[in-house]
Symmetry: C2
Subunit: 359 residues, 2 copies
């Protein structure tokens, strides 16, 4: 036990170097430089001399705040809290898929299929609610309740996964470091708080942000044509704010029933099943479009595999417009400019090893 | 009291909108766009349609963390805690001077002169120690001890300014919201913690960061010539890392005594006065160069008013080099690329009003 406690202390030690090492290294997305130019050599020499860009995220303010982020990053990859021992948060939120999973609907414990598509958690802190039906108030709420979801972690109640964590050497100390004011730090609420603290730092700025800041060359002519179409068609009426969505609930299928265009197997009543209010029939949270080019298949049921068709479906059922191939291609080109690099912080931090007894 | 308590609650209420409103609005510094171009119209139309850049800082993870930042921002402008009632943190760290004060040495309570020049607090969280002699371990430590400094806030002990804050309706509740785990939240340690939480978010990325990310056009030819000189001369041996300094202690005056070049009135023994170790004679923390073009006069004693001369002094006393006018002008041009916009969050949040009795 003493040995693991020391490991825990080391991993949560806070120094300027350690703080910065965990952050992504630039406020600006890396650009390809033409090899051999004097400027490229200068950039290389300046870095070799120890000059460095500002981190895109500020260092965390105190040791317990840093410990929360570090713990959340570790818990994100913790599968032992799931009923079959195979499902962690990272199961449905994978780095190479912009923190989504590439499936129409996610697969949880014992191969069970979730009712809806897994959205990316990148930039998700900017959304007003979580989940397609908005029935998770925050990232913290989402993370905690995932422990119980029958097709996510599958636990009957919170005590089961918390008992599992208590049996792993290191977690009791890591939770105590992260929540020093709490008499009982290792709780499902703090599981959610730690994962939320980690996830909230996962922002992915990209070329679109540079364009909005006035860099006219940040988007190509085709991408600009797509953005012009996106704005003029009225897409931004719902897909707005820094996430380009995630700011409101809207009915999916304003002009015609969505399932006629998406080939969905059966209609999902959406928010009406949550609120028991007929006015919420087929109402969903407007999904955020950041990284949308990497997070197919599309819609709450993953019923549309490709982005051009998803764009045409939206224009058709929301706005009553038939887009030409060219128009949807331009919009798709614009949407690709919303892709940002996965934050360096979004890389696995191994869970603590199980106790030698195998407990 | 009830009335002020309500004000306090409102001001610390956390909603997605409130969180974002307090953040600066882009990861990319604004660029001037040529008026009338199609791209400029598109940027304008996209913003008008509600599209927005990602914030450069992630939303704070929980209500108490947000309450700490908000409280710290308010305390930063609180002058009643100083002995003469006139000195707040903002007194020496002003927005239009990149959070410095433009004086050779800062003026504190009752017009007393501080022993050294006030450094900027922008990006200061990235430094390994605080103050010229490194005798403040962190931003939090610096903020707390400033309460007692005879030429800063001037209090005889911490109980005096804390009693003052307790007498202002609103602060007891604001500290309790910010430090919910503490039995006695309104302490000098938490004064430091709140101000530190606020200051740690004040990063100022600029064109230099874009250049390091590979945008070869982000620096002009003159600025690139200056960076080349900066690297080749060896300036980056000490002025390195994301702050371009703030990572080590070094002797000021390696080749010759610094005061012969700076016209300093009398030598400052630097860190030797802190450690009582002769090896630390004239040793100071290497100042960070972010925003240096806006934070004159220069050096620990503010003895050199202009940046070109400060650059020549450094080359002379640290490296034994006599720079030409052209060389120092190029380096000064490069240093100007380290200027970043003041974060939107660095704007006054008014302290709570005094109790009606005037207490």
């Amino acid at each position: 036990m003493r040995r693991f406690f020391l490991i825990s202390l080391v991993s949560t030690t806070v120094g300027a170097g350690a703080l910065l090492a965990g952050l992504d290294s630039a406020s600006f997305p890396a650009q390809a430089t033409a090899a051999g130019t004097e400027a490229a050599r200068l950039i290389s020499d300046a870095k070799a001399a120890g000059l460095a860009p500002l981190p895109s995220l500020p260092p965390v303010s105190d040791p317990s705040a840093q410990a929360r982020v570090t713990l959340g990053r570790r818990l994100f990859y913790e599968a032992r809290v799931s009923q079959d021992g195979n499902v962690s948060c990272s199961h449905c939120h994978q780095a190479d898929l912009a923190a989504s999973d590439g499936l129409p609907k996610s697969i949880g414990v014992f191969g069970k299929t979730n009712p809806r598509n897994a959205p990316s958690i990148f930039n998700a802190a900017l959304q007003f609610k979580q989940h397609w039906r908005g029935d998770r108030e925050s990232l913290e709420d989402q993370a905690e309740k995932s422990l119980l979801g029958p097709a996510s972690f599958g636990n009957p109640d919170y005590s089961v996964p918390m008992a599992t964590l208590k049996g792993v050497p290191g977690y009791a100390e890591a939770f105590a470091d992260a929540f020093p004011g709490d008499k009982e730090p290792l709780t499902s609420k703090n599981w959610g708080a730690a994962i939320g603290a980690f996830e909230r730092r996962l922002l992915t700025p990209g070329r679109f942000d540079a364009f909005l800041a006035g860099d006219e060359k940040a988007l190509s002519a085709t991408e600009q044509a797509g953005l012009r179409k996106f704005v003029d068609l009225g897409c931004a009426a719902c897909h707005n704010g820094p996430g380009l969505g995630g700011t409101s609930f809207q009915k999916f299928g304003v002009v015609e029933d969505y399932w006629k265009e998406t080939s969905s197997a059966s209609p999902d009543k959406g928010r009406a099943d949550v609120t028991k209010n007929d006015a919420d029939l087929y109402v969903f949270k407007v999904p955020a479009l950041r990284n949308v080019a990497k997070t197919g298949p599309y819609f709450h049921d993953g019923s549309v595999p490709d982005l051009p068709r998803a764009v045409r479906v939206m224009a058709k059922v929301q706005l009553g417009k038939d887009l030409t191939e060219r128009e949807s291609a331009d919009i798709v080109a614009f949407l690709a400019s919303l892709t940002g690099a996965a934050p360096a912080e979004f890389s696995p931090l191994e869970p603590f090893p199980s106790a030698p007894s195998g407990k």
